[in-house]
Symmetry: C2
Subunit: 288 residues, 2 copies
């Protein structure tokens, strides 16, 4: 029997180890850039990562209880040749120190992974190369200076559910790999190509060059969404939570539609507006 | 010249006065119950309160700068016979000590009001009495144990925009008068009847007695939303963020529909699901 330690098989037990601290530090954007890694938390997101993007996984940590409760993650990891690192519950909890909106600590439920940023947050040209070929229908969601990480994650999830092919974020938007974006996307971040940090000056011409029409919503638009023609290749552009879209982007759009407001509401929040546009696009595709 | 002080005309200057502390305390549910009051913050929400529900206003506070920037609030208050209490910026800021999701202090932008809870958070029977008469179309949104205040406010706003007639919340849901609900409803809380704290045992029979069909969403439902018949009088029931709807509520619903999921997403979050159902209902009403 060898007495040689095999560190990669041993349970990580200390909440204060360098490794644990480094992963906790990935809550910050500068640490994510420095290490080229981001953190994925909880069984649903990690399962989606390991299933859909095994190539992006750097490390995978499960407590004994989580490994028993979520055998499917262990199986998926095994099939993809990804090692599962056993970890004590208190060390795993120390990797995630974020709070939710109510101020309660976020629980990773015994499952954390790290993944490579470059594999998930694509360069604009690589993301566009993943679009369906010219002539095929395509749905793109563009988030123009969307700042709230919860909104960004929720909209990536909604875009996925509505069958969108691509999500693009301009440079002043929330970081697409921030923990709250990853959590609120509920795994959808790993289901479709996503590119953050795009230069708005390049983004719109590049979409048009790919035959994609730029569509914006406006309370002043003449055409109502439910009556408007929706091009087969369309990018829905959604603006900042407080300021909306810059006037120049709206003026430059290939089409602008008005979402009907039936009550006394003055406006829709951006998540509601994007959801209505994306699912109306899905509904039309299903009917055509 | 009289030297008698007229306290109601004098600028409130101390951030530590009893009045300021009492209004700051309305962040808590028990204080709201004890005083029978809740807090409304910011120009948009307060303008909506004063315009649509002047009967509910208890007190209205504006800084000099806000009174100058938002003359329409001062005019609406004057027309409704509501006194505007001048207040120093630091005293007004001390009335609102909440943080937003990013941990930043919420800014009321110089405008705060208090309003009477009983005038806005209706009893179930009063809310149902406000429904359109039998034979008329009616759209109701029921939030069944929805816990996140941001979701509740966003959904009241979406329901308003989609022309819903009523929003009901079961007892275990977030308090409909919590500051974050009021903020995220963006004034819509004052546009349509809302009743919180309803007993689920009474709620569904009462809706049926009013001729309203109970509709739920389920990933396992046979009928797809976009193809399903939508009754003229319908209550969309949305369940808890984590657990969804209790099986008994789903089993007892008059119809269950499946929202199509085109991508690899496993589910929709509740705000997305409710938005899709409410706006599809609006779309049909517009077409019929």
């Amino acid at each position: 029997m060898s007495t040689t330690e095999r560190p990669d098989d041993r349970t990580i037990s200390s909440p204060r180890s360098d490794r644990v601290r480094r992963i906790a530090g990935l809550s910050g954007r500068s640490a994510r850039r420095r290490h080229g890694l981001f953190r994925v938390e909880g069984p649903q997101s990690v399962r989606s990562l390991v299933e859909h993007r095994p190539d992006a996984v750097e490390e995978l940590f499960l407590t004994a209880e989580a490994a028993s409760d979520h055998g499917e993650i262990v199986d998926l990891a095994g099939a993809a040749g990804i090692a599962v690192r056993p970890i004590a519950p208190e060390a795993l909890r120390a990797m995630v120190r974020d709070q939710d909106a109510a101020g309660a600590l976020v629980s990773p439920q015994g499952v954390v992974a790290t993944a490579r940023t470059a594999a998930v947050d694509l360069a604009l040209e690589d993301a566009l190369a993943a679009l369906p070929a010219a002539g095929e229908p395509a749905t793109v969601l563009v988030l123009h200076e969307l700042r709230d990480p919860g909104n960004v994650g929720t909209l990536i999830r909604a875009a996925d559910a509505a069958g969108a092919d691509l999500v693009l974020l301009t440079g002043a938007s929330a970081d697409v790999l921030a923990p709250k974006v990853v959590r609120s996307s509920a795994g959808s971040l790993f289901h479709l190509p996503v590119a953050g940090g795009a230069d708005a000056e390049l983004l719109y011409p590049a979409l048009r060059a790919a035959g994609v029409a730029i569509a914006a919503t406006s309370g002043y638009a003449q055409d109502e969404l439910f009556a408007a023609e929706i091009p087969a290749r369309i990018a829905w552009v959604m603006g900042n939570e407080a300021r909306g879209l810059p006037a120049a982007v709206l003026a430059d759009a290939d089409l602008a539609v008005r979402i009907p407001l039936a009550g006394a509401a003055e406006s829709l929040n951006v998540a509601t507006a994007a959801t209505v546009c994306l699912f109306e696009t899905l509904r039309r595709r299903g009917r055509e």
